[in-house]
């Protein structure tokens, strides 16, 4: 089972597997989340190239994995422990482009108070989207702990942990899956196998035939799905969530996809990704097939999709304009949130810092347009 690839829509949008029952509203939200991600990406690329933000991470090509998985979760009771390439998970659950842009700019309204690089989003509402850190795989055992807390309280919530193919080599992958298996924790491990860990291809990352096969060693089921088929991802994650809620433990899902952009805005993938491979995968674009499916099934018309597309583009552009004008966080945010209470040595450093930069006429009231 673990080496078969679950597919519902082929690259042309034709149904090749039994389509799950998905409400029309969910189908529309899935499309919106994917379109938002694509436009947000595009906007961030422009912002980075024009020096307005420092960094971003393209999601191009992998949108169906994040969107399809997010749609299987209930924000009232579930948690997301995301990777940094999961913008669509936030969009699916209604995080606004503006809230995302605030983090991209690290401005005064940023949830992270300008402390993290762009892309390291944190949200609590409308969905528990766990604060992202840069070290790889550390959130996997954390996801197990989050899930275990719910299990111990007799709740039926689930934690989804998302990571890339590179993440499967990390310490956290082993400890996370091992602990989850032993404890029967309600976790869904979702590997976005986009075939590249920066420049390291999957065959240099692991000698396993598949990533899903690794599940067996941890005593949990492993499933392999077409990651460019949003319905297949949705179905696989929905089944895994159901298992977890029913107390049947964790599942590892490998969503096979392809990173069509660079690792980040600092990366030039043309140095290592063969052009033929990209051309081959361009034909498998997750949006093309899903849009064809929606039109063929009469869920949405082409004009309706075009209007939604334009709306998403405008929302991202407007979010960027708004976020660019919010100014920098206040100087004391360097010192707050280190501890619940500011200890005396930090108070002294904070007082000195504010005095010092005030005397230089800096850091006090940094309003205006980014880049500041």
């Amino acid at each position: 089972m673990s080496d078969q690839l679950l597919q519902i829509l082929d690259p042309t949008g034709r149904k090749v597997g039994p389509a799950p029952r998905v409400r029309r509203e969910v189908l529309r939200r899935l499309l919106r989340a994917m379109l938002m991600t694509r436009h947000f990406d595009d906007r961030c690329m422009k912002l980075q190239r024009t020096g307005k933000i420092g960094f971003s991470v393209p999601n191009l090509g992998i949108e169906a994995v994040s969107a399809g998985a997010a749609a299987a979760l209930d924000p009232e009771r579930d948690w997301i422990a995301p990777s940094y390439r999961d913008f669509a998970m936030a969009f699916y659950h209604g995080v606004s482009a503006e809230a995302m842009m605030d983090t991209q700019f690290g401005n005064a309204a940023d949830n992270n108070r300008g402390r993290q690089m762009p892309v390291h989003f944190t949200f609590r509402e409308p969905v528990r989207f766990l604060s992202i850190s840069s070290p790889i795989g550390t959130h996997l055992p954390q996801a197990v702990g989050i899930a275990l807390a719910m299990k111990k309280r007799g709740e039926d919530g689930v934690c989804l942990a998302s990571f890339g193919d590179g993440g499967t080599s990390s310490l956290g992958f082993h400890s996370g899956l091992n602990f989850a298996g032993v404890f029967g924790a309600p976790v869904v491990f979702l590997c976005q196998n986009n075939q590249w860990a920066i420049s390291c291809p999957i065959d240099k990352q692991t000698a396993s035939a598949t990533i899903a096969a690794k599940a067996e060693a941890y005593g949990m089921p492993g499933r392999r799905v077409d990651g460019n088929d949003v319905l297949a991802v949705h179905k696989a994650v929905t089944e895994a969530v159901k298992r977890a809620r029913a107390g049947e433990g964790p599942t590892l899902i490998e969503a096979v996809t392809m990173r069509m952009g660079g690792h980040s805005t600092s990366d030039d993938p043309s140095r290592y990704v063969p052009a033929e491979l990209l051309a081959e995968w361009r034909e498998k674009d997750p949006l093309i097939r899903f849009q064809r499916f929606l039109v063929d099934q009469g869920v949405m018309g082409e004009e309706e999709i075009a209007a939604l597309d334009a709306e998403c583009a405008e929302e991202c552009a407007a979010a960027a304009r708004a976020a660019a004008g919010k100014g920098r966080p206040a100087l004391d945010t360097i010192f707050s949130d280190v501890y619940a209470e500011l200890p005396p040595h930090l108070r002294a450093q904070q007082d000195w810092c504010i005095r010092h930069y005030s005397s230089r006429g800096e850091g006090v009231d940094e309003k205006g347009e980014f880049p500041l």
Partner: protein, 326 residues
Amino acid sequence: MTELTLVQAVNDGLKTKMREDETVLVLGEDVGPKGGVFLATEGLTAEFGEERCFDTPLSEDGIIGVGIGLALNGMKPVCEIQFQDFIFPAFDQIVSEAAKFRYRSGGMYTVPMVIRTPYGGGIRGGLYHSQSGEAYFCHTPGLKVVVPSTPADAKGLLISAIEDPDPVLFLEPKALYRSFRQEVPEGIWRVPLSTVREVRPGDDAVVFCYGAMVPVCERAAERIAEARGAAVRVVDLRTLLPLDEEAVIAAARACGRVVVVHEAPRFCGYGAEISALIAEHAIDAMEAPVVRVTGFDTPFPNTLEHYYLPDARRVVDALERVLDYE
């Protein structure tokens, strides 16, 4: 009041807090039915069940990572790392995750957890059962680092650590686990974090120390008192991060002569921070250079560990140096 050893007081602290707060969980290697390799968690699984005190697979990274997740989602985990020497696979989880969650999420996600671990030499444990790694962790904003030296403090500081909203590394001096008994208050007993304890009064010189070095320094101060009538103050720092800097500076100023003692290696050790603090804030009151008595800048030896660890004689020599300095 009951007379307890330090390890019994840790056990009592855990039981007391677990009875009071059902979100307190204990996890780690062999902490369940066995009660831990030092018996610090003895009887917890029997009293609270496997749901609240449970064995984990052999992975420090997993123990701390899972502990962080439990803390993120409303629990109060007390993770045991069997020996501090084994903590390094979890260094990433402690330093980059537990200590930074509050900061990096603007306070939206926090990690109120305790990591208990026995540290230090004196049990013939060699390189990997004897280390004192406090300096690695004291360089980590967002973390608290606590080291008790008496049974009463062990219980009182542990309860405060469990109640603290931030992650606390609780370093237990294993050499003192069963070295003496002391009356320990029953029930909830708190010793506030970030406060020092004056072990012995005096104005001629002050020794700053913590953990297993506290009784060593007490003996040294007694010998100096007997030999030359000098009154040496002994201050147990108890919380290394955040340190009660004001108390350290005040004691240094009051005495004018300072010795700092720890068993960890000297270079970039905790004593360097105390020396620098005094140099920056009390140099005008100093009548002698600050002298450090520490372990050597080598890995921890086994057969010769008693020559590696500072003893009362080495502390006496240092005290004589600062007392005789003109």
